[in-house]
């Protein structure tokens, strides 16, 4: 085999390796042992047109990660989020499949909403869920409005069919966090 051919295949394999290996990584332990339970969550709700705070480093670990989204889907059912938010359509709770996020649609902003709770009935889950679980839940919630990559999302859950397959949900444009429109 000519030298050039061998080099090009090596390069190709390296590039492919970088693409592949983190998207399916199962991180089983969210937090190294011994750290305090939940570091104070920076409040990422910012009024008016202030610039958004720097994104949280943990976001990259959970966004578009298939195993985090699958865990989030399981927690979404188990922690009774379905009871209020249904399957994204909303009922007692707000709808999660539209792009309207009054308290911010970024993953760390959603984690803040889960952690601190929000008016009109959203309970605060701080100390009732671990931080890793909240991030997994936020990762799943973002898939309801099609924010995540389609190849990290599962088409359906093993339950009654309630929405079109998630691999085909349109990506909703994120409304700016402070838009007053409902």
């Amino acid at each position: 085999m000519s030298l050039r051919f061998r080099n090009s295949t090596a390069l190709l394999a390296l590039a492919a390796a970088l693409w592949g290996c983190n998207r399916e990584e199962r991180q089983t332990r969210g937090k190294p042992l011994g750290e305090t339970a939940t570091a104070a969550m920076p409040d990422t709700v910012y009024p008016g047109t202030g610039n958004a705070p720097a994104p949280d480093p943990r976001a990259a670990q959970y966004e578009g990660n298939a195993s985090a989204i699958a865990q989030g889907q399981m927690l979404y059912n188990q922690m009774n989020c379905v009871g209020c938010h249904f399957h994204g359509g909303g009922g007692m709770g707000v709808a999660l499949m539209d792009g309207k996020w009054r308290y911010g649609g970024r993953i760390d902003q959603i984690v803040a909403s889960i952690d601190q709770g929000r008016p009109n009935g959203m309970p605060a889950w701080r100390h009732r869920l671990t931080e890793q679980q909240m991030w997994q839940l936020a990762a799943y919630v973002r898939t309801l409005s099609g924010q995540e990559r389609k190849d990290a999302v599962s088409a359906r859950a093993d339950e009654v069919s309630n929405t079109p397959p998630q691999t085909q949900t349109k990506r909703e444009p994120l409304m700016p966090a402070d838009s007053d429109e409902q």
Binding site: A155, R156, S161, P165
Partner: protein, 205 residues
């Protein structure tokens, strides 16, 4: 020990092409038919298996598929057997001119069928992601659609091929004969699927 050849009989007089079971490609086409036949038979077995799981077939509130598009498709398909038989006879009679006239007709019929199939897909009254009933109905229709489209593609390629000087080669007539045979297989497999998609959901309401 190296064997010396002892010449028995001379085969130079044998013909270089033959129709039906004497042709090699005929056995190839039959093998592909058996494969796709097994595919359809298993898909229908899955259909009945899922029907047994459901309490009511065409489960409420999904109403059974509308009949118009499906029945129109079946009618046109059965009518297409007339030009299909004519092409087969023409090919067997080495009538290249007739074949060159009929192939565009078959291609047009193929196009018409594909268009009707488009209407069929949105007359099913159920989506593939609604329930297992919807999934198997869409699967059966999708499988047969790949079947129709591939054979329509073959007919188009054959039509273009026959227009070129290659059309004179008698082997191309053997190909036309076998393509006509395969077309017959396509609408033979459609009949049970038509009953399963359009009529069975009506009987068990």
């Amino acid at each position: 020990m190296r064997h010396e050849p002892e010449f028995a009989d001379d085969l130079s007089a044998l013909r270089t092409h033959a129709f039906s079971y004497r042709s090699l490609t005929w056995w190839g086409i039959i093998a592909f038919m058996v494969i796709e036949g097994a595919f359809f038979a298993l898909a229908m077995a899955a259909y009945f298996f899922l029907m047994a799981q459901e309490q009511e077939w065409a489960p409420r509130p999904w109403s059974p598929p509308d009949l118009l598009a499906g029945t129109l498709f079946t009618a046109v398909m059965l009518l297409s057997e007339v030009p299909n038989t004519m092409i087969k006879r023409a090919a067997n009679a080495y009538d290249v001119a007739a074949v060159r006239k009929l192939l565009p007709v078959m291609s047009a019929i193929g196009l018409l069928l594909v268009i009707i199939r488009g209407f069929e897909f949105n007359s099913l009254n159920v989506f593939w992601y609604d329930n297992a009933y919807g999934s198997i109905i869409w699967a059966l229709l999708f499988l047969h659609t790949t079947h129709i489209v591939t054979d329509w593609g073959d007919t188009l390629v054959l039509w273009q091929l026959m227009k070129t000087p290659h059309g004179e080669d008698p082997r191309r007539l053997v190909d036309t004969d076998e393509n006509a045979l395969y077309w017959r297989f396509v609408w033979l497999t459609w009949l049970p699927i038509y009953v399963l998609i359009y009529w069975v959901p009506r009987l068990f309401r």
